[in-house]
Amino acid sequence: MTELAVQLGCVAALLAVAVVAAPLSRTPRLATAIIYGATLIVCAVATASALTWLLLHADAAAERVLPIGLPWLGAHLRLDALAAFFLVVINLGGTLASLYALGYGRHEHAPHRVLPFYPAFLAGMNLVVLAADAFSYLLSWEFMSLASWALVMAHHRDASNRRAGYVYLVMASFGTLMLLLAFGLLAGSAGNYDFAAIRAAQHTPYVATLVLILLLLGAGSKAGLVPLHVWLPLAHPAAPSHVSALMSGVMTKVAIYGFIRVVFDLLGTPDWSTSGIVLALGGVTAALGILYALMEKDLKRLLAYSTIENVGIIFVSLGLALAFQTNHQPIPAALAFTAALFHVLNHSLFKSLLFFGAGAVLSVTGERDMDRLGGLIHRMPFTSVVFLIGSVAISALPPFNGFVSEWLIFQAVLQSPQLPQWGLKILVPAVGGLMALAAALAAACFVKAYGVTFLGRPRGAATLAAKEVDRFSLAAMAILAALCLLAGVLPGLVMDALAPIATEILGSRLAPQSGMAWLSIVPIAQSHSSYNGLLVAVFIAVSASLSFGAIRLVSSGAVRRGPAWGCGFTDPVPLAQYSAAGFAQPIRRVFGTLMFRARDHVTMPPPGDIAPARLRIELHDQIWERIYAPLAGGIMAASVRLNRMQLLTIRGYLSLVFVTLVTLLLVLAIWT
């Protein structure tokens, strides 16, 4: 089992790189090249070995115990199909992020605050997936959070980044403590924290339910489940863009890995009702996440919110898998589970791509605010193409990969009538509706993102100066775009690669897909449903070129350029274009009034006054205002109240001692 050794070697190498990065970063340019080059190589190696494991001997599992970590336990490290898959996701992301950063990192103005933590962050994520006992799992989990926190704080002079880092760190620690409680429950008072022991132990339904809820709190807060998502849109954009890509595209997946590992692998089968919780949470998260994104005008924050949506989708299909699994319906369970993993892969691909694109825009224009961008398609032709591909893919449109996974999830949703419980029968279609809503809103959201950022006319001076980004960044984005298309047209191969994981975790798998006629995928049965990404893509290409050719024949190819039709007054100022907020206005009016208590305030100047009319949009983040603000306020109030105890006179303190003594004596006198 050399792969495990290779993986551990890679982790060690990453840590070593992190250590040498600190002194190196005195010479930024050199350090940037060396560090990112090194991480690029290491991650590539790790990806390769994990992939070979997943493809060749995925049914096996390699384990090894290192004499570190919890003394009487040691650090258990285990490589199985599930771990291998997530290692692929992590290290693929790491490889491409490093490649991207080779170019992007040159624009970094505080490299000494990024370079040491970047490899550590990657190492932490790898370790989480490899860990096979509670202690090393949580240790690497929190180490990952810590490294990413340091990266979020890289540009610490910006107060909003500091706030982001703070909220992030607190939420992360909350999540870890919840996981800690969960493992405490699983390990029992004897404290056998080894995953093998936990897997072997029998857990009562009560314990299983409690653990699942704790997992939803712990892993969910890291993954960004509503209402634990508040840190995510703050922290992800705050980091440098390649790190944002890793946090959004990969780290959330590590959280999902944690959920799968514990709930599906360690926990046995909990009560069916728990799957309802997961489903509902996932659906709400998907819909709310994308609604938040639609209200956003900061490009990177928009992407972060859309991450929340995708996490919701993944949790929906995990909930479906749980529902089927608890009702002993292996095939639909495998379908939902495979769909979830497929979407994990897809989201890691196109979200990284989109964040890279946002980073490219940021590095050439220095702007994240979409309302100051526009018309970039003329200045960054290549970036605009790959970003378009990413947008189509994330909007779940054929023939790209995003659609395949959502299609599979819908197929799983359509299996729900087989579920015996009324609750699920009624819940699942509703959640399906929520998912369809989320998908449509996602399309709207990315029409907005792409349209406002890349199309139209430049809105600011920063945009006019923009030019195409460097070669490394373009290469990284191109590879991702290609992968998006590839996974979209050849879904069967991916599903077959994922099958062993389902076998390992659920004990059931889908029928092998690669044997199907013309590479179409048939999750349940031919008569039931099937999809052939390749053919659809080919048909579209063929008919497009057909029509193109035909038109070339009949019509005149004449083209005349002229000013746009401006309804009388020509050449309005570019700012008169539809802004991000303006584009979202119809949807804001339909959904926002309920979700965000959104109000548009228009201040019209009096007649004769030439001052411009001003539009102010008032949004309230209900979740923050209803949950977090009161909590923080309560703690503050309590501390103010208690702080009076710091301000007593000596006599006051003495009387405290005195009262304590007398109370204890009284207790003694009464109780004994």
């Binding site: 007593l648 006179t649 006599r651 003495l654 001692v657 005195f658 007398v662 003694l668 006198a669």
Partner: protein, 220 residues
């Protein structure tokens, strides 16, 4: 003989408690110091009696220390300080005398209730003594709590120490180390308090220094 011995030591210890109550009753520092001297005298008497009936000569030393330091030197010195600070007139009880008295009663009752549970094989003398000692300690603490001024806090603290000594001497055959440590700690206590008071006097008038919190930014 034993009955008599018991009664005497018992009455002496009881007397100590009584004097503690008298201290609670005082609201002028000067008179308080007098009462404290009396307190010390009572203590040294009972210690001496213990030395007699336990024929433990080393206890005489303790008695002597108590008499010398607590009954004479310290009251005199404190009187000096009091006059120097010019606070020999002001009334500085926090709670009214009446409530304080009631609280004191409660404390004595509590200490009796606690000590009388002790199984009787610890001999009666010890039990009674402990009960009284405990009440003296608690009363001393109560005194410190109900007085505002640093000097009276010192006095209260020393009356508390007296209670300790009473207990220690009541504990038959307790090794010398304890008495020495008691005297030792009292000595240290006195010296340090003296220094600190002196310095405090030197810096600013009020001994109650809570307004420092403001300068320190803790009170906001």
């Amino acid at each position: 003989m034993h009955g008599l011995a018991f009664d005497i030591s018992h009455s002496l210890a009881g007397g100590l408690v009584l004097v503690s109550f008298m201290m609670l009753y005082q609201d002028r520092l000067t008179s308080l110091l007098n009462v404290f001297a009396l307190h010390a005298v009572m203590l040294s008497l009972s210690v001496a009696w213990q030395a007699l009936i336990q024929d433990a000569p080393h206890l005489y030393v303790t008695a002597a220390i108590a008499l010398l330091f607590k009954a004479i030197i310290i009251p005199v010195a404190l009187r000096r300080i009091v006059y120097k600070l010019g606070i020999h007139r002001d009334i500085e009880t926090v709670v009214g005398i009446g409530p304080t008295m009631l609280a004191g009663m409660g404390l004595v009752a509590l200490s009796l209730a606690l000590m009388l549970r002790v199984t009787a094989d610890a001999d009666a003398l010890a039990r009674e003594d402990l009960a009284f000692a405990l009440s003296v300690v608690l009363l001393g603490l109560l005194f410190m709590v109900t007085r505002r001024n640093a000097v009276s806090q010192v006095v209260g603290f020393m009356s508390l120490e007296n209670g300790l000594i009473l207990a220690a001497t009541g504990a038959k055959g307790m090794p010398l180390v304890v008495e020495i440590s008691v005297a030792f700690s009292v000595l240290i206590a006195f010296i340090v308090i003296g220094i600190v008071l002196f310095r405090i006097r030197e810096r600013f008038d009020s001994v109650d220094v809570s307004q420092l919190d403001v300068s320190r930014g803790e009170r906001t």
